[in-house]
Symmetry: C2
Subunit: 257 residues, 2 copies
């Protein structure tokens, strides 16, 4: 059965896209068939995998706003054999307003994924930094939500709002929606704030928090400028190794369910 | 004449809120009367100045969606004598949809600010990480836009989209809207990516880019957990000193216009 995971956190710049690209790539390296759906108007997951805006014939905007099939939008990633992508486009940022009169507006992505899901083992959805219609579409379509959490005060602030929205979608739209887990990102053990945030989160969320943390590592932020996941750009870097461990922990958690 | 500045960049986590809080505080320390308007549903600028969500009787949501006067929403910041804040609330994230049928929806903030602007020398607007109705409201109300730019590849990617939206608002709503400047944030000179981004931005945007850069400095991210601007939390820290210099460069650029 295909597993559909939204990667979300309305706090900006916490590592959603970096997590989506690098977990997806590791799972492909482990032989799984993976689709990454980019529903952020910035299109960072698309660019980070080498699919520039000029190469995107259609995008997830066409799926959500014009009823195009995901099949017609999906491209194969040249550098990562076995990874498919549904790229984003900048007009996604106006979808909220365009679909306001459509009673099915929160179910567009779910309906689109249902038609193609059997082709993949995992479908990941990279969300924008907001709790808008796009993120709600992802929550309605997903089995679970993976939450990258930057070890910073402001990032911790937003966690209860995020959990609240997940609960609302579970009650109104998707009764089986769960939290897949919380991954601590940009972890710097020399920094007090990091350990304070970690202690706080592990105390409140316990088992949900992954054992593996992602250290701050410049190779992770260099890789997208080459259109490559870190796993291909610099496989032995601290960042790459950490994401490989996170992907393995992800699969273990999925199998233990 | 009051100057109204939107602090915006749809890329998440680039330092918008940190820039808004610390420039506003420095200008107050230099004797100016400053209002900070928080229109991000996360409410980080409000919390970062010690105004927790339980202390916010009204918010900018009430101004935009219910026509409340800014006067009724503004609070004085206890720790920073002379700084006023219009706090945010989490229901801001549904404003796009709620105002969709209101023909004046992009001018709500502008109309609200016009009624109170003579009371302040500077009005700063902290924007959410998106190019939605809230950010368009800020662009319609502002004289100029200050753009914090993180020295990272993904952050650079989004710059042309941001500039495009500013141009659209200038042509449709606000003919005098300008770019006030671009401030490089989380600058780490040991990191190749930082200098590559800097070279790229200075080449393309020239004079618009501030001479002063903001280094990555942990004291900047610790301060908000005490409800204090860095200038009060640790005035001699590298981050604080850099923001004081940016604020002075900001005033110089405003006076030179
Ligand atoms: N562990 C890390 N170490 C160093 N840099 C990182 C790390 N993770 C992400 N980055 C960099 O930090 C920035 C923010 O990460 P990313 O864009 O993945 O976050 P995001 O949550 O997707 O942002 P947005 O909210 O804008 O969608 C990017 O420039 C990225 O390259
Ligand atoms: N120069 C800096 N050095 C170190 N940390 C910083 C710096 N500037 C900001 N930070 C921290 O980085 C994180 C992101 O900054 P901030 O929240 O100000 O960005 P933002 O653009 O307002 O984010 P959002 O897009 O979510 O509104 C925060 O945790 C903040 O404390
Ligand atoms: Mg992203
Ligand atoms: Mg902010």
């Amino acid at each position: 059965k295909t597993k559909i995971i939204a990667i979300a956190n309305q706090k900006g710049g916490v590592g959603k896209t970096t997590t989506a690209i690098n977990i997806a790539t590791t799972l492909v390296a482990l032989g799984r068939k993976v689709l990454l759906i980019d529903i952020d108007g910035q299109g960072n997951a698309s660019t980070g995998l080498g699919v520039n805006s000029s190469d995107r014939k259609f995008s997830t905007y066409d799926v959500l706003a014009d009823g195009k099939q995901l099949d017609e939008v999906i491209v194969d990633i040249e550098n990562v054999d076995g990874l498919s992508l549904a790229p984003a486009s900048s007009d996604l940022s106006s979808v909220d307003v365009e679909l306001v009169d459509d009673r099915q507006r929160v179910l567009k992505l779910k309906q689109a994924i249902e038609k193609i899901e059997n082709k993949f083992d995992y479908v990941f959805i990279d969300c924008p930094p907001s709790l808008n219609l796009l993120t709600v579409n992802a929550f309605a379509a997903a089995n679970s939500v993976l939450v990258p959490l930057q070890c910073e005060f402001f990032a911790l602030e937003g966690l209860s709002q995020l959990m609240g929205t997940i609960k609302e979608v579970r009650e109104a739209l998707n009764p089986t929606l769960q939290i897949q887990g919380v991954v601590l990102t940009m972890y710097d053990k020399r920094n007090n704030l990091t350990t304070q945030v970690e202690d706080d989160v592990r105390e409140n969320l316990g088992e949900l928090v992954y054992d593996t943390v992602i250290p701050r590592n410049v190779r992770l932020s260099e890789a997208p400028s080459f259109g490559l996941p870190a796993l291909l750009y610099d496989p032995k870097s601290l960042g790459s190794v950490a994401y490989q461990r996170v992907a393995i922990e992800f699969m273990k958690r999925e199998n233990d369910k």
